[in-house]
């Protein structure tokens, strides 16, 4: 349904050209969920925005970037080739691919009611207006678990609680009837209990509607609950991807191992936390070779710092980009 190949994004900035996404490839089948995980600045959100062509004018896609999407009618669309003003792009946004964001407060405009913004999406993608659109909006609000939706629909975003707003945002995205939902850290800004409710809701809705989902989070624990497959990003590259269980049980990349070790565990309170050593380099100072090598305890001298590791297929749908798996030996 969606396949991304060699996606690269560069930004022109005052400090020169930065590359927040470099050579990213993944595929997503209908009804499946892909988790994109990584620290802040790893290029997760930029990847998501590139899929919707929402990047600012200072961004350019790499020449070999391909984003192929098969729409409801079975038509294949090259997202990277759509013109910014094309009708096809506007149909894609919302109607084919819905998106929800980290900040539920900021994703709604404060000066229009929730209902106004939901019925707008319904009018654009379902061709319903007036009462029919309103009825559908109320139905969607009820579906995401908002109590007395016929009253909430006329309220302004600032009168709703954070969890309620994120539910409303999900209702908005789903009311346009997308086949793929991109959720960019949808639960990060919420309390833990609300977070669990919203995750539960999203999983349920996804089952009901048969949607595919790209779930972005920095939290491997959250990803493990919602996704079947996971891609671990570091400095704009997918360093490892595969089925979620296999990847968590036997991480192949040192960075993935570090991420898993860094998760605080309630059953081991005596031990110290194990953060991944070092810091993410600034995007304008991307290390040569494997981007992770300055922080990697297992880096191979003479190799990791000079050569970019190619993807290695480990079988079972697992792919890793690491010289430890390419059969390279340290050059002393």
């Amino acid at each position: 349904m969606l396949s991304v190949e060699n996606l690269s994004v560069t930004f022109r900035t005052d400090e020169g050209i930065v590359t927040p996404v470099a050579d990213v490839s993944f595929a997503l089948a209908e009804g499946r969920t892909l988790g994109l995980v990584g620290e802040s600045g790893s290029g997760k959100s930029v990847t998501a925005k590139a899929l919707m062509r929402l990047l600012p004018g200072t961004a350019t896609l790499g020449a070999h970037s391909r984003m192929r999407y098969v729409d409801k009618a079975g038509q294949a669309i090259g997202i990277e080739r759509l013109s910014p003003r094309a009708r096809a792009l506007r149909r894609l946004r919302g109607g084919e691919i819905g998106m929800i964001f980290q900040e539920p407060m900021a994703s709604f405009s404060p000066v229009y009611t929730i209902g106004n913004q939901i019925t707008e999406a319904i009018a654009l993608h379902r061709g319903l207006k007036g009462r029919a659109a309103r009825a559908l909006a109320i139905e969607m609000l009820a579906k995401v678990g908002i109590a007395s939706p016929e009253r909430r629909i006329d309220q302004y975003p600032h009168t709703l609680s954070g969890g309620m707003r994120q539910r409303a945002m999900i209702a908005l995205a789903l009311s346009a009837g997308p086949r793929l939902l991109i959720a960019d850290e949808p639960t990060t800004a919420l309390d833990v209990t609300i977070q669990a409710q919203v995750l539960d809701l999203m999983r349920g809705l996804q089952c009901d509607l048969g949607m595919a989902m790209i779930f972005i989070s920095h939290d491997l624990g959250v990803i493990a609950q919602v996704a079947q497959e996971v891609a671990v990003m570091y400095l704009g590259t997918i360093v490892e991807r595969g089925p979620v269980r296999a990847l968590l049980q036997a991480p192949a990349h040192p960075y993935t191992r570090g991420l898993i070790a860094a998760i605080p565990r309630l059953d081991r309170l005596e031990g110290r936390l194990h953060p991944v050593p070092g810091e993410i380099p600034s995007p304008s100072a991307r290390p040569a070779g494997c981007p992770f090598h300055p922080r990697c305890a297992e880096a191979l001298a003479g190799i990791c710092a000079t050569r970019v590791p190619e993807p290695v297929d480990l079988g079972g749908g697992r792919v890793v980009r690491c010289h430890l798996h390419t059969g390279e030996r340290s050059v002393a």
């Binding site: 929402l54 003003r85 900021a106 000066v111 229009y112 707008e120």
Partner: protein, 330 residues
């Protein structure tokens, strides 16, 4: 909403009372009063010698020897109850007769100026923000800085010169000679419109430049907001998106500074009036100060401040209408 309005209305009333006290104090400031003037007017050139006692007698018959607070109440009472602004010194007539239709001309000029300001600055500000960083944007920015830097009276002179060269006819004043004293008619109104654009343009100039900058800055902020990206992500056509989401919020700072713009326009009115030969309140205010005709000056000052305070109230109302967070007290 009602609480908000009530609060603003009370604030407005208090402001008006304070303003009237201040204006009255200003009227009291210059030495000499109506009794001095009256005596001077009546007896100068007649050879009659006037003593302090004569003036005091006049003062007493006119009630001007009463304490200031009483006279203030008289003055305010006359205005509020009868719309009577008292007597004009220099003209031996009432202030109302002098101000008369000039009030409406001034309000008309103010209205046209405001409409012109916003009709020009809002679209240009939005356009510059959307085209941010392009040559068009820089061009517009430079022009608007020029607008801020150029003194109004200079602009008035320059425009006067060119208008005179290109349109030939006299462009000063608010009416052509044929219509100056004529009764109101469609032709006179058209004549007014033909004359009004120039002073309106001069008065709008700096407000326009300022508001272009404001709109551009807020619009640029709004364009980067997540709610705008979210609206784009649901497939809204770009033009509708711009107008519905960021442009709507970019209006807020403009609407909330309407009162300041009115203030700015009034401050510039006397000088622009002098240069362009306008015969409305600005010109009269200048003259009445020169003549120390404090009743006229006071009446004009009071009227102008009432308009400013009133427009501030209007801007509050508009803001509450535009932004539900204010309306609903969020």
């Amino acid at each position: 909403m009602l609480r908000f309005l009530a609060g603003r209305a009370v604030g407005m009333a208090v402001t008006l009372v304070l303003v009237s006290v201040m204006v009255f104090a200003i009227m009291e400031l210059p030495p000499g009063d109506y009794a001095d003037r009256y005596a001077f007017r009546k007896y100068s050139g007649t050879g009659v010698t006037i003593t302090e006692a004569d003036v005091a007698a006049i003062r007493h018959t006119l009630g001007l020897d009463r304490p200031a607070p009483l006279r203030y109440l008289d003055w305010v009472g006359g205005i509020v109850l009868h719309g009577d602004f008292g007597k004009a010194y220099a003209f031996e007539t009432s202030v109302n007769a002098i101000i008369g239709q000039k009030v409406w001309l001034t309000l008309g000029l103010l209205f046209v100026t405001l409409v012109l300001t916003y009709a020009v600055s809002i679209p240009i500000g939005i356009y510059a923000a959307v085209r941010r960083g392009t040559a068009t944007d820089y061009g517009l920015t430079v022009l608007s800085y020029l607008g801020l830097a150029l003194p109004n009276f200079l602009l008035a002179l320059v425009l006067l010169y060119f208008a005179n060269r290109w349109f030939g006819a006299s462009v000063g004043g608010l009416f052509g000679q044929a219509y100056e004293k004529a009764p109101w008619s469609a032709a006179k109104l058209w004549d007014l419109v033909k004359h009004l654009w120039l002073p309106a343009l001069v008065l709008a100039w700096s407000a326009m430049a300022y508001q272009i900058q404001t709109v551009r800055a807020t619009m640029s902020d709004e364009l980067g907001k997540l709610s705008v990206i979210a609206a784009r992500a649901r497939g809204l056509p770009e033009m509708r998106l711009l107008l519905k989401y960021p442009a709507r919020l970019a209006l807020n700072p403009v609407v909330s500074t309407i009162g300041f713009d009115v203030n700015r326009i009034f401050s510039e009115l006397p000088i622009v009036a002098a240069v362009l030969g306008l015969t409305e309140l600005g010109d009269l205010l200048l003259k009445s100060f020169l003549d120390l005709d404090m009743n006229v000056a006071g009446a004009i000052l009071l009227l102008l401040t009432v308009v400013i305070v009133g427009m501030n109230f209007v801007s509050d109302l508009l803001l509450a209408w535009l932004d539900p967070r204010i309306r609903l007290g969020g």
